[in-house]
Every structure is written in structure tokens, then in C-alpha cells.
């Protein structure tokens, strides 16, 4: 993990015990191809929950 990804974490501060995404994970968040696939997956999941709720 790059040092840049850890810049907000301070030892024994309130955010010391949580997960922090690495640079690859953060890139995926705005990677258009990957996000287009996730768009389809999330929509399917939402449609299922919406269907169960009506």
C-alpha cells in the first residue's frame, strides 16, 4: 500500500482501527469499464429488493 493511502491515519487516533482502501481499490471506484459492470450488478440487486418490497 502506498504511503499516500495512509496519510490520514494517525496512531491510536479514532481512525487507527478501520479499513483503508489502497490505490488500486480507489482507482476501481472511478474506472469506467469496471463501474459499468458494477452498474449492471447493483441495478439487478436493487431491482430484486424493490421487487420484494412491493
Amino acid at each position: 500500500m502506498a504511503l499516500e493511502d495512509e496519510k490520514h491515519i494517525k496512531p491510536y487516533s479514532q481512525n487507527f482501527t478501520t479499513m483503508t482502501p489502497g490505490s488500486f481499490q480507489k482507482k476501481l471506484r472511478t474506472c469506467v469499464i469496471y463501474q459499468f459492470i458494477r452498474f449492471i450488478v447493483i441495478n439487478i440487486k436493487m431491482i430484486i429488493v424493490v421487487g420484494k418490497s412491493h
Binding site: 496519510k7 490520514h8 491515519i9 479514532q14 481512525n15 482501527t17 478501520t18 479499513m19 483503508t20 482502501p21 480507489k26 476501481l28 471506484r29 472511478t30 474506472c31 469506467v32 463501474q35 459499468f36 458494477r38 452498474f39 447493483i42 441495478n43 440487486k45 436493487m46 430484486i48 429488493v49 424493490v50 420484494k52 418490497s53 412491493h54
Partner: protein, 489 residues
């Protein structure tokens, strides 16, 4: 000919009125009473509040839409209910006061056969000294609860950005303005949209951003948090939220009751009894909600407000209001038909119904100050219950008084929620989430209280695309354009 009066034209009221008008046809009358001339898609106020959308992008005029639907529209606020009529009139009626230009202050009684209370909340800024006066926003903080508030917030934000460009460091404080607030999600969206905009403006390094809320843990959101399936684990929303706050460099104060707001400083009390202050240059604090203050009178004129409404001003429905301590709470406490138990031709939906209790575990400070989120009843559940109530009333009118009522308990329904964390067609992100059910059912799902197969969340550009599409889709639906009934709530 029967008359259905719908009080309120928000998500729940508008859904109920438009479906009722469609199902009842022209043989019966649907009347909508709402003080606003415009409909507002409130979830997009976040983007108005950072200058990414205009007020016109999130609102439209109600009158032409209701004219097209055959709905009688009265721009007025409801003042009181007489469910038994009065000494001169046996028919139940609602007293309204016009807010329409040219008729402001004019009072009228409207008789009804059925009534739906979907008035939404009173934004109770006055509950916290300095946050505002009654339902009026104060001078020290901003709000994104209405489109007008969001425009004001955006103007203030732009001034802060200018100051940062000129080398002046700014402190941003966003969250809840009282120990009993709900709608943490809106504040969550706003703080990350601010962070995103400051990055875009190139001034993020000049800003300190802090979250303050009444949640006992980050990611509670008024629903007691949730567990999502991820990498083979059932991961708490606490981890999810803390991770995002850490990644974006946002500090947090939780378990906080904001007790007073002054110019540039917030006073708070924490669950552990700590008393503290936090300075700010820019602050958006969500106010607590209350009922709109409708009164109710019996036939002889005696005040029966406490029969119909809970002490917080929300209307009593078919909920279990005597559940007692947290350990006794059950999913079945939650209402499913939204029918008033005393007057069966009265229903309430959306924020206007009185919940049986909170969803998050109730907590208080050592001095006894209650500090816990109140339950959210907005968005998808609000629309679903509005449609269910309209369906029930249409059945009662068209099939007779023995027709069975529709059920739409928040303990049996799920919700899809998209929380924006920044706007941009290629740079935006949002947390896309579903939960099932909204109210956890620990008897059916021991442990997490929810079905983790249908409860998930992830952040990314896809979520932003969905949020943006939903913005246009729900405005399209609310304008009753062709095929509007095919779009789910």
C-alpha cells in the same frame, strides 16, 4: 361520490394522491392540500447545496400536474381536523388556511370521506437554541432541507471557497443539530459532496472538515446500522463509514447532542457526559423533526389532539406504542396499514405517522439527555406506504367498507438508497445500498436483524450514475409523464 383529502404533497402524499386519482377516476374526488406551490425532489437538494444544480433543476410547479391528473389542488396548510364534524355539520372536515398568493390567510373547511395525513415534518430548528426559531433556520448555520435552504447553503459555501483561495483556512462542521435528529444520510451526503467540491476547486488542503452526529457509532444512520456481505464477511456499516471518513480525511464526533449554536461555535454534550465546543466557519446541521402541529377537535369542540396525535405531533396509526424498553421491541410493533385506530377513515404515511419507537437503541448521557437517532421514514419506504394507503382507500371506496386493507410495514419491506459522495459524470461517487428489511427483525434474522443476502453496499462511480438517473426518473414520474406508473417507488 366520495372525497379523499390528502394533506401534504411530498413523496408520500404526492404518490398517494396521484395513484388514488388514477384508480378512482372521475367518479370520485381527490383533493391535495399543500402549502407549497412546487414539488421538490429533496434527495437532489444536496447538489443544489454545493452549486452543482439549480433550484429549478429539483422543483416543478404542482398546479399543472394536478390539473392534468384531475386532482383538486389547494395551496394551503392544514390547521385542524374535526373527525366527527361539529355541532352544525355531521361530516368530518379539515380546516385549512391558504398560503396561495392573493388568498393568503383565507380559511376554509373541507369535508371528507377519507383523509391521508402526509404532511411531512416540521423542521424544528427552534429545539436547539441558536439553530433557529421554530421552523425558521437561524443565522449561524445552513441547511439543505429545502431547495431554498440549499441555494443559501451553496452561496455560503462559495464564499468559504473564495476565502480559502485567498489563503484563509476554513473549518467545516456538518451533521445533526440535536440529540434526537434523523436524516443523518442527508448530512453524510452533504459533507462528502463538500469535500469533493473543495478538491475540485483546488482548496481541499485549506479545509478542516468534521462530522458531528447523534449516532452512537458511525454508520448507524438511524436504522441501528446494518451488516453487508463483503468478501465472505458480514461487515458492519460502522467499518464501511469509518473507512470512508478516514480515506477522505474527515474527523468525527459521535454520540453528540448539540445543545446550543452561537456564531462560529457549537456547544455539545456527549453520551459519556463530556461537554465540549467546536468552532466552525461553515456549518450545516440537520434540525430535529416534529409533527406540523395539527390540532383536532371532537363534535362538541373539545380538544382531542392527544387522541389522534402522539406527543411529538405525528399521527397515531396501527403501531404498538406501548412496547416499552428496547429489550421488548419487536418488528411487529411497526404499523402496516397506517390506519388511525380511533377514526378508521384517517390514515397517515411518510414522516407524518407516529413510529412506535426508534430503530436505533435508545441512549442517554449521564445527565439524562437522550442522544439517539429517531427513525427515518423517507425515500422509498415513504413512497411505498403512500401507494399502499391510497390502494386501501380506493378499495374501501370502490369495493365497500369490508374490503381488506393493504399492508406495507417497514419491518417487511426493503429499501434501496444511494448516498452521493460527490458529483461528476466520470469523477463522482456514491454509496449504493440496499437493506432488507428496513426495521431489523431479530426474531427472523437473529444476530444482524436483516437478510445479508439482500443487504449490501458499495461506493463508486456506478452509484453516482444510479443517483443521477434516479433524479431524472423520479422527477419524470412525479410529473405524471407517459408510463409513470411503471416506475417503482
Amino acid at each position: 361520490m366520495a372525497r379523499l383529502v390528502v394533506l401534504g404533497g411530498g413523496v408520500s402524499g404526492h404518490t398517494a394522491a396521484t395513484f388514488a386519482a388514477k384508480w378512482l377516476g372521475s367518479s370520485h374526488e381527490v383533493v391535495v392540500v399543500t402549502p407549497n406551490s412546487k414539488w421538490n425532489w429533496i434527495p437532489s437538494n444536496i447538489w443544489v447545496g454545493v452549486g452543482e444544480m439549480s433550484k429549478e433543476d429539483v422543483t416543478f410547479e404542482l398546479a399543472p400536474v394536478y390539473a392534468k391528473a384531475g386532482i383538486t389542488y389547494k395551496q394551503a396548510k392544514a390547521v385542524s381536523l374535526n373527525p366527527e364534524g361539529d355541532l352544525t355539520n355531521d361530516s368530518p372536515f379539515v380546516t385549512i388556511e391558504y398560503t396561495q398568493e392573493g388568498r393568503a390567510g383565507e380559511v376554509e373547511n373541507i369535508t371528507y370521506d377519507y383523509i391521508i395525513n402526509a404532511t411531512g415534518p416540521k423542521l424544528n430548528f427552534g429545539a436547539t437554541p441558536g439553530l433557529g426559531n421554530g421552523s425558521e433556520l437561524g443565522e449561524y448555520t445552513v441547511s439543505v432541507c429545502t431547495a431554498e435552504h440549499a441555494v443559501h447553503a451553496s452561496q455560503k459555501l462559495q464564499k468559504c471557497i473564495e476565502k480559502m483561495r485567498n489563503g484563509e483556512r476554513q473549518k467545516f462542521l456538518v451533521g445533526t443539530g440535536h440529540g434526537m435528529c434523523t436524516c443523518q444520510g442527508a448530512a453524510f451526503e452533504y459533507i462528502f459532496n463538500i469535500e469533493h467540491e473543495l478538491n475540485k476547486a483546488g482548496v481541499r488542503h485549506m479545509a478542516d472538515i468534521k462530522w458531528i452526529s447523534n449516532e452512537s457509532f458511525l454508520g448507524d444512520f438511524g436504522i441501528g446500522g446494518m451488516h453487508m456481505k463483503s468478501m465472505g464477511f458480514a461487515v458492519s456499516s460502522k467499518i464501511f463509514a469509518e473507512s470512508l471518513f478516514t480515506e477522505r480525511g474527515v474527523d468525527w464526533i459521535i454520540g453528540a447532542h448539540v445543545s446550543k449554536v452561537e456564531e462560529g461555535v457549537v456547544h455539545y454534550e456527549l453520551l459519556d457526559g463530556t461537554i465540549g465546543t467546536e468552532n466552525f466557519d461553515f456549518s450545516m446541521l440537520i434540525p430535529p423533526f416534529a409533527g406540523v402541529g395539527l390540532k383536532s377537535y371532537a363534535k362538541d369542540g373539545s380538544d382531542i389532539t392527544d387522541v389522534i396525535f402522539a406527543p411529538n405531533g405525528f399521527m397515531k396509526v396501527d403501531a404498538k406504542y406501548d412496547a416499552g424498553a428496547y429489550e421488548n421491541w419487536r418488528a411487529s410493533d411497526w404499523p402496516s396499514t397506517y390506519q388511525n385506530p380511533t377514526y378508521t377513515n384517517m390514515f397517515a404515511c411518510g414522516i407524518a405517522f407516529a413510529p412506535p419507537h426508534a430503530i436505533s437503541k435508545p441512549m442517554s448521557s449521564p445527565s439524562g439527555t437522550p442522544i439517539n437517532p429517531t427513525p427515518p421514514r423517507t425515500g422509498m419506504p415513504s413512497g411505498i406506504m403512500g401507494k399502499a394507503v391510497a390502494h386501501s382507500i380506493c378499495d374501501l371506496i370502490l369495493k365497500g367498507e369490508d374490503a381488506p386493507l393493504q399492508h406495507a410495514s417497514m419491518a417487511d419491506m426493503g429499501a434501496a438508497c444511494v448516498a452521493s459522495a460527490g458529483k461528476g459524470i466520470f469523477t463522482g461517487t456514491a454509496a449504493a445500498m440496499t437493506i432488507y428489511p428496513v426495521v431489523p427483525d431479530f426474531e427472523k434474522y437473529p444476530g444482524t436483524g436483516r437478510d445479508v443476502d439482500y443487504t449490501f453496499g458499495e461506493i463508486g462511480l456506478a452509484g453516482h450514475w444510479i443517483k443521477h438517473i434516479l433524479h431524472h426518473l423520479f422527477l419524470y414520474k412525479a410529473k405524471l409523464k407517459p408510463g409513470w406508473t411503471l416506475i417503482p417507488e
